[in-house]
């Protein structure tokens, strides 16, 4: 019932993308951010991140979920950890171990107040490295990598 609450009030900038929502892109983001997570194996980290890339999406996700992620890392559970588990392809039965691994790497995966695109690339990649290095989780990460061609 709220016009302004949901207003698409943009934007002192000019990009047409900012007045458009595209549902297909949301879906793409899950896979795209997964690729950023495992970029150390899939390649692409050397490229400068573009504003149109999955790294930018990851940055927005991190900024939007920063407090939620901090809470989840304290409790070892929650929607932000679920999201990361989804993009990192973690099987449901391995999610408690994934949560504890994230807690151990809290300093590496929790962004500051205003994460940059470079921060997002580093953090997501840290999650991927953490998964691949963890004997309890690496199979899930390897499965994701195996399904996607390297660059």
């Amino acid at each position: 019932m709220e016009p302004s609450s949901t207003s698409w009030t943009t934007s002192h900038s000019t990009g047409s993308a900012q007045v458009v929502a595209g549902s297909a892109l949301l879906l793409a983001s899950v896979d795209g951010i997964g690729r950023v997570v495992y970029s150390s194996r899939l390649g692409g980290t050397g490229e400068p991140p573009t504003a149109e890339g999955s790294v930018a999406q990851a940055r927005v996700w991190l900024e939007a979920n920063r407090l939620q992620l901090a809470e989840d890392l304290a409790l070892g559970t929650g929607p932000a950890i679920q999201d990361l588990a989804t993009v990192a392809n973690i099987a449901p039965e391995h999610r408690p171990a994934f949560a504890r691994a994230l807690q151990r790497h809290r300093a590496d995966v929790l962004p500051g107040a205003a994460p940059t695109v470079a921060d997002a690339a580093r953090i997501m990649s840290a999650v991927g490295t953490m998964v691949l290095d963890d004997p309890a989780l690496s199979a899930d990460g390897e499965a994701f990598v195996a399904q996607r061609p390297t660059r």
């Binding site: 002192h12 949301l26 930018a56 939007a64 989804t86």
Partner: protein
């Protein structure tokens, strides 16, 4: 070439073409008839006579299309269209000649069968006598379709039976084809022609849609009701969002939800014209995919509004239809927003109408809860209610903090720490709290291993409580940043934004190359959030205090994460989550079943006796009708939470029929009352302060000023319990009226006091006892007018078949004018139907 005056028979005499026309065109016209399924070629009426004029016109189609029963064409002139870019001029001419015949034949069928007049067809674009609800330039296959439902059908049939690909295979990418953007009209057209024996068309190949819809993983569709709030006038009735739920993402917040939103100018540019357009139309309302994470954060954290969920009961095919419809409406719907009569809730109902088998009613006031009442009253494919509540609701972080504060207090009774330390952990000073946490952390680490698990529950509760404080601090900081942001240029007008959006969304392959939803947040979403934060109550915290709160939250969460690791319990996170879920479920189990119906469209009657100022006893009847009437403490599945009371356009009349007297009348234009105090860790006083305000007119013939028009409000100090179903509130505040009566017109001002209480009674339904008392002292007349008025009543819910049906309310009221005037006493029994709106 056929010459004017000759009538050339085609298609075995079914077509008779007269005018100047080439052989190729004649062939294309014959092909047009062949484009239709065989059963449709045998159209009703005699041969289709077609006149062709020599002068060119756009697409070779004349408007109006018919003259004395003959279909009118002219020489072909092309019209710019990106879908036809790959076609040669000759192919374009062929395309539109074929389409012309389809148009004419379908019109013949429509005249005979009334297809375009059916509710199913008209529901797609929302056709009424005033035209289509859908004003998108792409709502119709071409502009001409917007002239009538009949032309909507005929023009759609043109593209459906003769797509661009029919004359130039491969002209369009699969996702750009019309067939991938008009699923609903194709489906309903088929239901209309199916009785003729026309088989269904093959399903189009639409990879982008299939990737999005993931139909094999689709579980259900939910309607989300974001609770009403007093944050701003437009939030007074709540907000509605659609959410498809997929199995495979396991609840991840990357899920898409479909937000209904109007594009408006930036808040800074708003004025009276904004209000006027908001009420009377002029802003476009559309559907926007957002991430579930965005919507959750905005509602639960930024705005502190809980979200109630309702499942839409759809058969598996209907669920697929719903996804097709959502896909289309995001791309091809623009509705005219009107705050009271066509808003987000109306749009959701409009979007669902062609999906469900039952007709959906329309309330007098299109408020979200009222629309949900009508959806709940509709029957689903299997005869069940179309809408059913999903428990539990998603709590705002403040609501969750309050619940965890209770849980924390219970834990403290079992944990060894001094009371003063617990008290400091609740301090309003973040420094004090941090000092307490440091000591409690040391105590936790030194504690008996058997107690460590309980300590973790305490820390989990503390993190959830501090999260609410962190959300509040983050919102305050955002508002501060907004106030310091310089304007970087002129904002884009809503119309320009729409134009740009329409163009991009219309072309799927272009859309796919854009960065959309998530990236938009970089500027636009952040700005919108700050914009909204600016409309929230003024910041309670200065910048440094907000920053300290956020820093403290970071340190606390780091310490608790470390504690959690030290405890070395592999499934601790899940155990803590389950503990919190049990607490929530326990509260839900202890609560009575809510009244299903919202408080919209309220009507109640009271019958009883009263004693007039002369001491005569007589019968008294009263009625109360309102667009919305919910009182504090009401327990409703839809509508407002129990801590909020709202009345909109209420009329209450009391009469003594035997004496042919109208006793009193109350007209409430708008009243709002809330028992939502400041969020934790505010002081106890701030957490128990609410307010009310009422804009109204009252009439009492025995008063000096029989009519009073004006405003009164109270600051309420309250205590609350039973999840908001019990309360006691006491308040004082100003009152200002214009009095009109035998003493003339005069301004009256003064003070008002209010006592309101509700005690929830045990039982499966939300029974209760209420007390309401008000005292007023008003200056401005010949003497100070002082009066007190009180009412006590019981509310008893009568239910059967698992649903509340009636609320019966025996009551006793008394009023006394203290400055030597009248007094009256009344007793009666009220009756209110709460069994839902009539099913259709």
């Amino acid at each position: 070439m056929a010459q004017a005056g000759d009538a050339t028979p085609l298609a075995g005499g079914r077509l008779a073409v007269r005018g100047t026309i080439t052989a190729a065109d004649l062939e294309a016209l014959a092909d047009g008839l062949s484009s239709l399924p065989p059963r449709l070629r045998d159209f009703p009426g005699g041969p289709l006579e077609v006149d062709v004029a020599a002068a060119p016109c756009p697409r070779g189609l004349v408007e109006p299309e018919w003259l004395e029963g003959r279909f009118q064409l002219c020489a072909f002139a092309p019209v710019e269209s990106w879908r036809e870019e790959a076609l040669t001029l000759d192919e374009r001419r062929q395309l539109w000649r074929r389409r012309a015949v389809v148009h004419a034949v379908i019109t013949r069928w429509d005249e005979a069968r009334g297809w375009s007049a059916t509710a199913s067809w008209r529901s797609i674009n929302g056709w009424t006598d005033d035209g289509p609800a859908n004003l998108s330039p792409f709502a119709m296959a071409r502009t001409r379709g917007a002239a009538s439902a009949r032309l909507d059908l005929a023009t759609f049939a043109e593209t459906f039976f003769v797509p661009v690909e029919a004359v130039h295979p491969g002209a369009l990418a699969a996702d750009d084809a019309e067939a991938c953007r008009d699923f609903t009209r194709a489906r309903i057209l088929h239901t209309l022609v199916a009785p003729l024996g026309v088989p269904p068309a093959p399903r189009p190949d639409c990879p982008a849609f299939e990737r999005w819809a993931r139909r094999s993983q689709l579980e259900r569709l939910e309607v989300l009701l974001v609770d009403a709030s007093g944050r701003s006038p437009e939030s007074l009735f709540g907000h509605v969002v659609l959410r498809p739920v997929w199995r495979d993402l396991g609840g991840a917040t990357f899920d898409t939800v479909m937000q209904v939103a109007a594009i408006t100018p930036p808040r800074g540019a708003l004025g009276l014209s904004h209000l006027w357009r908001g009420l009377t139309g002029g802003y476009g309302l559309g559907f926007f995919s957002l991430s579930w994470a965005d919507v959750r954060r905005e509602a639960l954290s930024d705005e502190q509004r809980s979200i109630r969920r309702f499942a839409v009961r759809l058969s598996p095919p209907e669920l697929g239809f719903a996804m097709e419809r959502l896909w289309e409406v995001e791309r091809r719907a623009r509705l005219d927003y009107r705050f009271l009569t066509f808003n987000c809730a109306s749009a959701v109902s409009w979007a669902l109408a062609p999906v469900v088998s039952a007709p959906l009613g329309s309330p007098a006031l299109d408020a979200p809860a009222a629309v949900l009442d009508h959806l709940a009253a509709a029957r689903a494919w299997d005869g069940g209610p179309l809408l059913s509540a999903i428990a539990p609701a998603l709590e705002s972080t403040t609501r969750r903090a309050e619940r965890n504060d209770d849980a924390r207090a219970r834990l403290e009774a079992e944990l060894p720490a001094p009371d003063a330390l617990w008290s400091r952990a609740r301090s309003t000073s973040v420094g004090e709290r941090e000092a307490a946490w440091a000591r409690l952390l040391a105590t936790t680490r030194a504690s008996d291993a058997r107690l460590r698990r309980r300590w973790m529950s305490w820390w989990a509760a503390t993190v959830r409580i501090e999260r609410a404080a962190a959300d509040s601090a983050a919102r305050d900081l955002a508002a501060l940043e907004l106030s310091q942001t310089s304007d970087a240029g002129a904002p884009m007008s809503p119309e320009l934004q729409w134009r740009e959006r329409d163009q991009v969304l219309e072309r799927e392959t272009v859309l796919a190359s854009k960065v959309m939803v998530l990236d938009r947040a970089t500027l636009e979403l952040a700005e919108r959030r700050m914009d909204r934060a600016a409309s929230a109550p003024p910041s309670l915290l200065p910048r440094d205090e907000a920053e300290r709160t956020l820093a403290a939250f970071d340190r606390l969460t780091a310490d608790v994460a470390e504690l959690s690791l030290d405890l070395d319990e592999p499934d601790l996170g899940r155990a803590l989550e389950e503990e919190d879920a049990r607490d929530l479920a326990g509260l839900a189990a202890a609560a009575p079943t809510p009244i299903d119906q919202s408080s919209h469209g309220h009507l109640s009657a009271v019958g009883g006796v009263d004693v007039d100022p002369a001491g005569r006893i007589g019968a008294r009847v009263a009625v109360h009708a309102a667009l919305v009437a919910q009182r504090l403490g009401d327990w409703r599945a839809r509508g407002y939470g129990p801590r909020t009371g709202v009345e909109v356009l209420g009329v209450e009349l009391a009469a003594a029929p035997a004496m042919e007297q109208l006793r009193e009348a109350h007209l409430t234009y708008l009243s709002f009352e809330t028992l939502q105090g400041a969020s934790l860790p505010a002081s106890a006083l701030a957490r128990h302060l609410g307010f009310d305000a009422r804009l109204a007119s009252d009439w009492q013939p025995l008063r000096g000023s029989a009519w009073r028009h004006g405003l009164e409000g109270h600051l309420l100090a309250f205590a609350i319990g039973d999840g908001g179903r019990s309360h006691l509130a006491l308040g004082v505040g100003p009152a200002a009226f214009v009095g009109v009566g035998a003493e003339g017109v005069r301004g009256l001002g003064g003070a008002s006091g209010r006592l309101t209480a509700r005690l929830a009674l045990p039982g499966a339904w939300p029974h209760g006892l209420r007390l309401e008392a008000r005292a007023q002292s008003l200056w401005g007349g010949p003497r100070v007018e002082q009066s007190v008025r009180g009412e006590v009543m019981a509310e008893w819910v009568i239910a059967w078949g698992g649903r509340a049906r009636w609320v019966v309310s025996p009551r006793l009221s008394a009023e006394r004018r203290l400055d030597g005037g009248y007094g009256q006493v009344a007793a009666g029994v009220g009756l209110e139907w709460v069994g839902g709106v009539p099913a259709r």
